[in-house]
């Protein structure tokens, strides 16, 4: 049926990198509390406003701005589970959040694809979503799956099509980047229930989750937030993600931008906890910079020192964090820029302690898919994984007896200990593949071959027949309602 399914290999490390000290974290939190209490955040949603009003927040129905007293913020945030589990289609791929383990996924959500046949740019389709879900399923760097590109051939129900085609090609947890609004999210919950066979199992091992983006500065998106309320009620995790840009949608200082982003994330978190206490919520701030002449979005300036500080802010609130890695601005598959900008990301974000991390494999600021890019980025991921991996120091690895056998001079090639360990002592990545002449191969050629090989050889277990029919029925119902 299929070749052996590679296991998930998350980045594990006992080490921790602190960008901020306790006092700085307290000051940032204090700024957020002050913004929420005195400035407020706009919630253009009657449902959201009603929840806030019911719990004693200061709600201005006209401006739709909610000011939240600090006690209410602190109490609500305290019910966020610190270590939730992201369930998978296959229980073997469930992801229990834990300290020192960073689970990565692919990038999203792109809209352009370099066609593998013509080499031309074209809009992404449902088939592309399925193809990348299958590649994700094979790669050990991928602990879960994101909507890598959008199914632009599927109209308004494309987020549901993306979910279905991902499940058909992938046994891991699926984090949607595109589901929007109450109706779509209700259908998604229905599909999750069909997959699990009951609502309790959805709550216990949620097979899906959702990225919910805020609008900087200090505004929530009606559709996003109302969809999130539906998922939270079902116990399905959400990731509240703010993307403040220094100088345009946020102050031009790091701390100020983080405060704005944090206030957006925390205000949405408070809403979800007030509506559904204990609903799993992840915290994420992916700040960027604006070009001072054109206001163009810049994700990778030279000084990006606080890139992973938001992970510590999340933990300071007692929340799990999603960190953003990769996502070069280069439109090239394998330019110096496309590798150099992102090369340190997986190491830094794992050291910062992010529980989950996006996004491997897109180019041109999260918009452009070369299917083979995921293989190149995967290589950087594994470099970081090995860099942080525990070193075994024990009698077998110290090999003092073997050193004694060889003595000064000579060599270790004729030692049985060498025979036992030499095969695995050196691991080759995509940049170290050799051709038949023993010369280094072009990594891009190798990456393309690997993509082709995966697509030809890796075929994850299809959904059970009854589940597939039930999901088809739900998708048809969604098509009817949402296209009406």
């Amino acid at each position: 049926m299929s070749i052996e399914h590679p296991p998930i290999e998350p980045i594990k490390t006992a080490r921790q990198l602190n960008f901020l000290d306790e006092k700085q974290l307290d000051n940032l939190q204090e700024a957020t509390l002050s913004i929420l209490e005195n400035v407020g955040v706009q919630f253009p949603s009657e449902k959201a406003l009603a929840v806030f009003a019911e719990h004693g927040a200061d709600v201005n129905q006209e401006s739709q701005i909610v000011k939240i007293p600090r006690e209410l913020v602190l109490k609500a945030v305290s019910s966020v589970p610190r270590y939730p589990t992201l369930g998978a289609r296959d229980p073997g791929f469930d992801l229990p959040m834990q300290d020192g383990v960073a689970y990565f996924t692919n990038d999203g959500c792109g809209h352009n694809v370099i066609d593998s046949v013509t080499g031309e740019i074209r809009p992404s389709t449902k088939a592309d979503v399925g193809m990348m879900a299958r590649i994700n399923d094979y790669l050990s760097s991928m602990a879960f799956s994101w909507t890598m590109v959008s199914a632009q051939d599927c109209g308004v129900t494309s987020p549901l099509h993306e979910l279905v085609v991902t499940w058909q090609n992938n046994l891991k947890h699926y984090q949607s980047v595109t589901l929007m609004g109450e109706s779509q999210c209700r259908y998604a919950v229905e599909m999750a229930t069909a997959l699990r066979g009951g609502t309790e199992d959805v709550r216990r091992r949620p097979p899906i989750s959702l990225i919910v983006c805020t609008i900087a500065p200090l505004v929530q998106d009606k559709e996003a937030i109302e969809g999130a309320l539906v998922l939270a009620e079902a116990g399905i995790p959400t990731v509240i993600m703010s993307m403040p840009t220094l100088g345009t949608t946020a102050p031009a200082t790091y701390a100020g931008a983080l405060a704005v982003g944090d206030a957006e994330v925390i205000s949405a978190t408070v809403l979800l906890q007030l509506a559904s206490p204990g609903a799993p919520v992840f915290h994420s701030i992916l700040h960027a910079w604006a070009d001072p002449r054109t206001a163009a979005y810049v994700g990778y300036p030279l000084d990006s020192r606080v890139r992973y500080a938001p992970v510590e802010m999340a933990h300071h609130w007692g929340m799990p964090a999603l960190g953003g890695a990769f996502g070069t601005e280069s439109p090239e598959l394998d330019s110096w820029q496309s590798a150099a900008e992102v090369a340190m990301d997986p190491l830094m974000v794992a050291l910062a302690g992010a529980e989950i991390v996006t996004g491997i494999g897109l180019r041109d600021t999260y918009t452009l898919l070369y299917p083979e890019a995921i293989i190149l980025d995967d290589d950087l991921y594994h470099q970081a994984r090995y860099a942080l991996m525990d070193l075994e120091v024990d009698p077998e690895t110290l090999a003092v007896e073997v050193i004694e056998n060889v003595g000064p001079g000579g060599h270790f090639l004729s030692q049985k200990h060498t025979r036992k360990h030499m095969r695995t002592a050196m691991v080759r990545g995509v940049t170290h593949q050799l051709d038949s002449m023993g010369k280094y191969r072009d990594p891009v050629d190798y990456a393309r071959e690997k993509v082709t090989w995966i697509l030809e050889n890796h075929h994850p277990e299809p959904l059970p027949g009854d589940v597939q029919s039930e999901i088809d029925r739900i998708l048809n119902a969604a098509e009817k309602e949402l296209n009406a």
């Binding site: 001079g409 000579g410 004729s414 049985k416 060498t418 023993g438």
Partner: protein
Amino acid sequence: MSEEIYNKLAQAVIDGEPEDAEELARQALEQGADPLACINQGLMKGIAKVGELFSSGEYFLPELIIGADAMKAALDVLEPALMGDQRRDVVGRVVLGTVEGDLHEIGKTLVGTMLTANGFQVTDIGVDKKPSEFIAAIQEADADIVGASALLTTTMLQQEKLIEALKEAGLRDKVKVMVGGAPVTEGFAKDIGADGYAEDAISAVDMAFRLIDAPA
């Protein structure tokens, strides 16, 4: 009975078990087996298989070297027991060493192992060897080829000195000279009057076959 001991000897080489190979060689002699047949139908078959597995990528360097060590351990027992004018069949005889002032061993050892696996009789004289030591070994082994290794730009000049010494000793026409080592190039080999140069151990085997005009 004999067939079984030959197979066991071959297997000890393939498995890279020098202690087993030596013990099997003793047992074979005790049981009255023909030492020459033990070598040709046991050890040589085993080492040929090791070479094959290495060339196909299944075996790595340690398997190759330990296989050759196992063969050598058994040969040390069997060769002294060869009767009268019995000599084992070899493709050719090679003396190998690293030149004077140079202590690098691995490249030369790999070449020796690969040659052994391909049927050559190899006398490895070790590292830091003077031309006179090479010459003594060539005479003793009645060698067809001498291989001189150097890993330093300062010691590669000794390869030329060896060739001069061979001329002085009247051996230059009798023995082919192969040179190798990281700084050595084909051009350098030609300049100093060597007969052959190889970049790595596998191509060294092809070169050795060419030099003695035998089919690889």
